[in-house]
């Protein structure tokens, strides 16, 4: 991204030509990455950007092609959440983050594929079918922001926005060999993000390098009164500098290297941690005793919130409606039955059950209490270390259709990513190696709330001394 910005000014790379080239590639794409491509809008903003660059405007993001996940509202461009129920929805407004990127002169290329309503980790539940992993088209790019991560890896954009409720930015970033940040809860406005689980959802950037991720994060973060959970504080400009790792304490929870971890992933992540050590960091063991309950807590809290958030899809004000219905209630139910696919129905059912009379205390209330214990675990751990490191995912990318029949096994793979969402913490996934068959492996770094500079600084330093992020599919 920074490289393209430089070439626009020094090498005579023309922003309009560049965007035209990207659009052509996007139309020819065999990875099923885009749900919509906005040729007209992209070319118009590229022309404006070209003008501004010619007039000496130094804005880094001017003319930079960006892809946006299809659950982030874009004025006048269809926003479907990869669902039949929103297949015809054209938002009358831009999400706050999209407005911010447009102000900086970014060129929005199109909207990327995802799991339906961001519920999944493969993009296989998308109503347009799964995206493919650019490193091996038989493998999943991960999800739910799989289209965004694959688009970055395949060079169909310079950076992308995703959303992360339980790992949906970090897991696909890891599977596609790119860098992805799930920011602190409340640091990026959720205005215009189609709600899945409101206490967990966060929008964040995906790009090749930690430095590019930092540039995008800087553009989208900050207080927004239109999101009542937006944190009103003094946001400093995100640093793009390397971090002096001398004396930095990296906490390693043994649980992150326990049962179920693929040995190639373990090896790559341990080697990644040794690189941090060689650069001066100190490694300490930290305990997160309640992390093993993370997946159970997550799938209760997330589905409960989802069942409530998705109650709005009833065929009345927007979206698809079943026309052949007996009465109003029949219209709601037939619209929802035909509008949602299996995984969304499963989660609405699970969440409705967890909130229903007689079960609320046993599930939702209990999960919310264990969530408190997980948050306290992190507070305790961060007394002994500055950042926590481990694998992003327990396995390398798996086959596109491998896991579909067994929802619980798929949920269990979220074990390393859900804790950051439950605790509202920032977490970064950076490439740290490859399997023998050439599939990318990612390492996750977590920090205390608003510790993005620490994470990105560590990532920038790591990438200054490694070349995993420079490999191309």
């Amino acid at each position: 991204m920074l490289e393209i910005a430089r070439r626009f000014r020094r090498d005579g790379l023309n922003p309009v030509e560049h965007v035209r080239h990207i659009l052509k590639e996007a139309h020819d794409d065999k990875l099923n990455v885009f749900i919509s491509i906005d040729d007209e809008g992209a070319l118009a903003s590229a022309e404006k950007a070209e003008q501004r660059i010619r007039n000496g405007d130094e804005g880094t993001l001017l003319g930079i092609p960006i892809a946006v996940k299809d659950n982030i509202c874009t004025k006048g461009i269809r926003t479907t959440c990869a669902s039949n129920i929103l297949s015809n929805f054209v938002p009358p407004y831009d999400a706050h983050v999209v407005e911010r990127l447009k102000q900086r002169g970014c060129v929005i290329i199109g909207k990327t594929n995802m799991d339906e309503f961001a519920m999944g980790s493969t993009t296989a539940t998308s109503n347009i079918g799964p995206s493919r992993n650019p490193w091996n088209i038989d493998k999943t790019p991960g999800g739910s922001s799989g289209g965004s991560a694959a688009a970055v890896a395949a060079g169909l954009c310079a950076g992308a926005l995703g959303s992360d409720t339980g790992g949906s930015i970090r897991q696909p970033a890891s599977f596609c060999g790119v860098t992805g940040l799930k920011p602190t809860y409340g640091s990026v406005s959720r205005f215009g993000l189609v709600a899945f689980a409101s206490s967990l959802d966060q929008i964040g950037p995906i790009a090749r390098t930690a430095m590019d991720v930092a540039v995008l994060y800087d553009a989208i973060k900050g207080y927004d009164p239109k999101d009542s959970t937006s944190v009103n504080k003094d946001y400093k400009v995100t640093s793009l500098d390397e971090l002096d790792l001398k004396g930095l304490k990296i906490g390693i929870p043994p649980m992150f290297f326990g049962e179920g971890l693929n040995h190639e992933v373990e090896k790559a992540v341990r080697e990644g941690i040794s690189i941090f050590k060689e650069l001066g960091a100190e490694v300490v063991e930290v305990k997160l005793p309640h992390i093993k309950y993370g997946v159970a807590v997550y799938y209760i809290v997330a589905t409960a919130e989802a069942s409530s958030n998705l109650a709005r899809y009833d065929g009345v004000r927007y979206g698809w409606r079943e026309e052949n219905s007996r009465d109003l209630v029949d219209m709601y139910a037939s619209t929802r039955s035909r509008g949602f696919n299996d995984e969304v129905k499963r989660r609405i059912m699970l969440g409705t059950y967890a909130l229903s009379a007689g079960y609320y205390d046993q599930y939702y209330e209990k999960a919310s209490r264990v969530r408190t214990l997980i948050i306290e675990d992190f507070k305790e751990a961060f007394k002994a270390c500055d950042i926590i490191a481990g694998p992003t995912t327990p396995t390398p990318p798996f086959g596109i259709y491998d896991m579909l029949d067994d929802p619980l096994s798929l949920y269990l793979l979220d074990i390393y990513t859900v804790p950051a969402n439950l605790a509202g913490l920032p977490a970064l996934s950076i490439p740290c190696g490859f399997t023998t068959s050439g599939l990318p492996i990612g390492m996750q770094l977590m920090a205390p709330a608003f510790g993005e500079d620490l994470l990105l600084g560590a990532g920038i330093t790591f990438q200054a001394h490694t070349s995993f992020h420079e490999e191309r599919p």
Partner: protein
């Protein structure tokens, strides 16, 4: 926790989702196995632990009670599956 067919039907009514018989048995089996896994939480002692509803310390985000423009009427209706006289239209509720 076992979720039987009657409970699946009850929950699907609450969620306003119709399920076929095949879907009912499938969801009964899947929800049972997922909830059985969730029972893991019962081993945690949570006496005197406050439930987290939110990870932030924000209590209330209030704004000034001032008039501001909202999205234009036509824009708000632009996605309506059916409209009449500038309003959302739905099947008849009262005979």
């Amino acid at each position: 926790m076992k979720v039987d067919l009657r409970e699946v039907e009850h929950v699907s009514r609450l969620a306003r989702i119709y399920l076929t018989d095949t879907e009912k048995s499938k969801f009964s089996a899947e929800l049972s196995s997922i909830l059985e896994y969730m029972d893991l939480l019962s081993e945690v002692d949570t006496t005197d632990v406050t439930p987290t509803v939110h990870t932030l310390s924000i209590i209330n985000a209030l704004r000034h009670d001032a008039r501001k423009p909202s999205i234009p009427h036509d824009d708000a209706l632009q996605n309506a599956p059916s409209e009449s006289n500038g309003m959302f239209s739905v099947p008849k509720v009262i005979e």
